[in-house]
Amino acid sequence: MKNVVGARYLVSYIGMVAMCFVMVAGIGYYAGPAHLASRHYEDGMAAILLSGSNVGNPGNFDWGTFEKCYVSELRDRLEVVVLGSSRSRLVGEHLFEGNSFFNSSVVGGRLGDCLAIYGLYEGRGLVPSVVVLGLDPWWLEGWDAGLYWRSLKEQYVSMAGRLNLAPSSVTIGEENNVMRDLLSLPYFVESVGNLILYRNGVPYFATDETNYGGALMLRDGSSSWPEALGATSPEQVKALETLALTQGNDLVGLSHSAELDEDRKRCLEAFVDYLRSEKVELVFYLAPFHPTTYDVLMHSDYRSTLLRAETYFRDMAHDKGVTVVGSYDPQETSCAKEDFFDGYHPTVSGVDKIFSGLDLALLTK
């Protein structure tokens, strides 16, 4: 039986498929959120902040690279540095009035990221006087999904060495696979969006505004998020959290495991001991959850992980003489529902309440 589909078609098809893959990878390389074609993306942001302006619409970028760019251009030692995750992003300089300050917490940050970013400061001989360490309960899980330490591998490995961490404590996750990301649909969609929206290549801009209606990275390194992006009503929060729970999704990586991972604990304790030995004052910041989220968590399998993590952090702080502000339980912090941006992130008003009891004089003596 004669074939109707010609060999020419097959060649065209295979050629087109190859071309399409090249096109997808090319668009992702040129305009993708990882900014592979232009390593100056994060440089530009750091330069704006160092010039004293804010960054409007910072877009999607590599936080580790950004921190590297910022710290490498920093001239003077800072008195206060914040390390942590997005839950620490709204801790601003106004809370430490009179002290030089930068918020180096990174979205999705974990302990590995904190180690690496601290290593950046130390590497430049700019060890801060005070480190505010925003601790999340999922940092004590048996794995570390921190993304940004990979951009700071050198600092990370160096810090791990100084802390005498066993190899098992620092073998973390899989490496980013650039090709897999380049050839993934979400990355491609975002790349096309960047290509259409931002003809000059970068979406961000320098501004002195602090409330222009979009996302901002303020000159102190903290963030300002527009209200419209949040899920502020208790109903919205409950719907989202309960949905995540019932669908079996991890809540930002928090698992059902009741046991805290020994390696993670050793790693944190070594880091705390190291900072203490370097005469760095430490503050543990336990960012509260939205009252509805906390209630949902307390009635879920995550309850024991959450409670054990907070107890562990507090006990360690007590043993090692570390100041603690906040609590995962919002009631302990006087934060009401309106003090939250969404289920996980306190607003500036919430952060103000949490830090109101902190004795600055004691820290920066």
Partner: protein, 522 residues
């Protein structure tokens, strides 16, 4: 191993194709069949090797009983053997699929505390069980002659249709090669099959999975007590209607395409179901091979329409209840089946009325036909709410929203898109309040859903798109494959190559997050 995975596409499929065609080239017909059976066993065992034991037992039992039925000359004995075989199949299916549901309901009614360990439903058990029941009945009826064990294994396990159909009859699988065993590679079958496969994969990963986040949000939150308002519930329900269609028809297209690559034409499973003019028409277009099974092996044995309209209506209700239960053990599926039974009864009455007016179904005035299509879609969408919801309570909450009983306020997230219209709406009493469901991509979702509805109502389906190459065993209503009025047809030219390459690449890059097919859970 899911069909929508890199491992399947880049490892399993090339290896099984290469092995199959190599054996065919050496005219090793039996070996090539054995190779496909072995491939299917590997694919099925990949999910859970323990399932293999159950499937092997089921195949051996049914093959032996089928042979015994054929071999028996006494009518009574044949009937008893058939009854025994069907009973064992149903008991097995019942144990795995319905035991927990049964115990839960007994406990609820009698306040008892019976406890069964959670029974895991073996993958595809519903599909391979009813295919084998159909085989036994066909053997009993003398519609199948002598069978060979290897061919029977091939019939049950053939991997393209193993997990979620199409539900195939034994006679449809054989003869499976239309000549040309000496051909090294049938380019047409490979190319057209591959195209169908990627069209199906595109429907699954780009369209259906793209709708999943919204559907999960609405149904998940509703199940936990949120009461979605009018727009949220309708968009959620319509999104699920589309998700399910593109997910399941996508799987069917992939199965049909894979079948073609191995020289097997599988039966059509979907034919633009949302173009249906009533429920009867819907079931001729939706999951066609299941409808056919229910008609031939449940509805007709119950008496069909042979005993008057009242008995016909009872039979329709019973058949659809069985259909509902086949999908899953739960009151939501029973409700879904009952609703469709009711729809069928109403459709028959409507057809009777049309007949008395001298109209042929679907041949009335154009606006009327459009209205019937819309009404059918709305009715089907309402029934899908039960199909998707985790409980009758959650389904009721969505339905209350769809009927405006939870309020009609548009979602606050839409306010950004409405601009000045927001004030106008507010002035006439439409308060833009938060609805308990935050979804930043509201505008995009509604636009996407509207486009997909247009595609379903006015676009060609996969078989029509590939009609020049007749990818399925049969055609809709027995019409010639090329009789479709659509001009959008694939041809193997440069334009066809560009379209298919774009579909292929988007489908592949969409695979980075694998999600299971909805029907694989049945």
């Amino acid at each position: 191993m899911p069909l929508n995975s890199y491992a399947f596409i880049f490892m399993f499929l090339p290896v099984s194709l290469l092995g199959y065609y190599s054996l065919r080239r050496f005219r090793a017909q039996r070996l090539s069949t054995a190779w496909l059976v072995a491939s299917s066993v590997v694919l099925y065992g990949w999910f859970n090797p323990l399932y293999l034991a159950l499937m092997a037992g089921s195949i051996s039992f049914n093959y032996a009983l089928g042979a015994a039925i054929s071999g028996s000359t006494r009518m009574g004995q044949r009937k008893s053997l058939l009854a025994l075989a069907i009973a064992v199949n149903l008991l097995c299916l019942g144990y795995f699929k319905y035991a927990n549901f049964f115990v839960e309901n007994v406990n609820a009614v009698f306040g008892s505390d019976f406890n069964l360990n959670r029974i895991i439903l073996p993958l595809a058990i519903s599909f391979f069980t009813i295919q084998q029941i159909a085989f036994l009945v066909d053997r009993y009826r003398g519609q199948i002659g002598r069978t060979d064990f290897l061919d029977y294994c091939f019939f049950v396990t053939f991997f393209p249709k193993l997990i979620a159909g199409p539900i195939v009859r034994y006679g449809e699988m054989f003869p499976r090669q239309d000549g040309g065993v000496d051909v090294w590679l049938k380019r047409d079958d490979l190319v057209v099959g591959l195209s169908m496969f990627f069209i199906g994969l595109f429907k699954k990963v780009i369209i259906a999975d793209g709708l999943a986040s919204y559907v999960n949000l609405v149904f998940g939150a509703t199940g936990l007590g949120s009461g979605p308002t009018l727009i949220v519930s309708w968009v959620g329900a319509v999104a699920f209607a589309l998700q399910l269609y593109f997910d399941f028809s996508g799987y069917s297209d992939m199965a049909i395409g894979l079948g073609m690559m191995f020289g097997v034409r599988l039966p059509m499973n979907f034919h633009s179901p949302y173009k249906a003019i009533d429920a009867v028409d819907f079931w001729r277009r939706w999951h066609i091979t299941l409808s056919r099974f229910l008609r031939d092996y449940v509805y007709i044995p119950l008496g069909g329409n042979r005993k008057g309209p009242v008995r016909r209506n009872i039979n329709l209700m019973l058949t659809m209840l069985v259909g509902g239960l086949w999908h899953g053990a739960g009151w939501t599926f029973i409700m879904w089946g009952a609703l469709h039974g009711l729809y069928l009864v109403i459709s028959h009455a409507w057809r009777g009325l049309q007949g008395s007016l001298g109209w042929k179904a679907g041949a009335g005035p154009r606006p009327l036909t459009a209205a019937t299509i819309l009404v059918t879609f709305v009715a089907v969408t309402i029934a899908w709410v039960f199909f998707r919801a985790d409980s009758v309570h959650a389904a009721t909450a969505i339905l209350r929203g769809m009927f405006g009983l939870n309020g009609v306020a548009p979602p606050v997230e839409l306010s950004l898109l409405l601009g000045p219209l927001k004030e106008v709406l507010h002035s006439i009493g439409f308060a833009l309040t938060s609805l308990g469901i935050a979804f930043p991509q509201w505008g995009v979702t509604i636009l996407w859903i509207s486009l997909l509805l247009m595609l379903c109502w006015f676009g060609p389906n996969s078989q029509e798109f590939m009609a020049n190459y007749r990818p399925t065993l049969d055609t809709f209503d027995g019409q010639p494959a090329q009789s479709s009025r659509t001009r959008l047809r694939w041809s193997p030219n440069v334009l066809g190559a560009i379209v298919m390459a774009a579909i292929t690449v988007l489908a592949i890059i969409g695979l980075t997050q694998v999600s299971s097919f909805i029907y694989s859970q049945f």
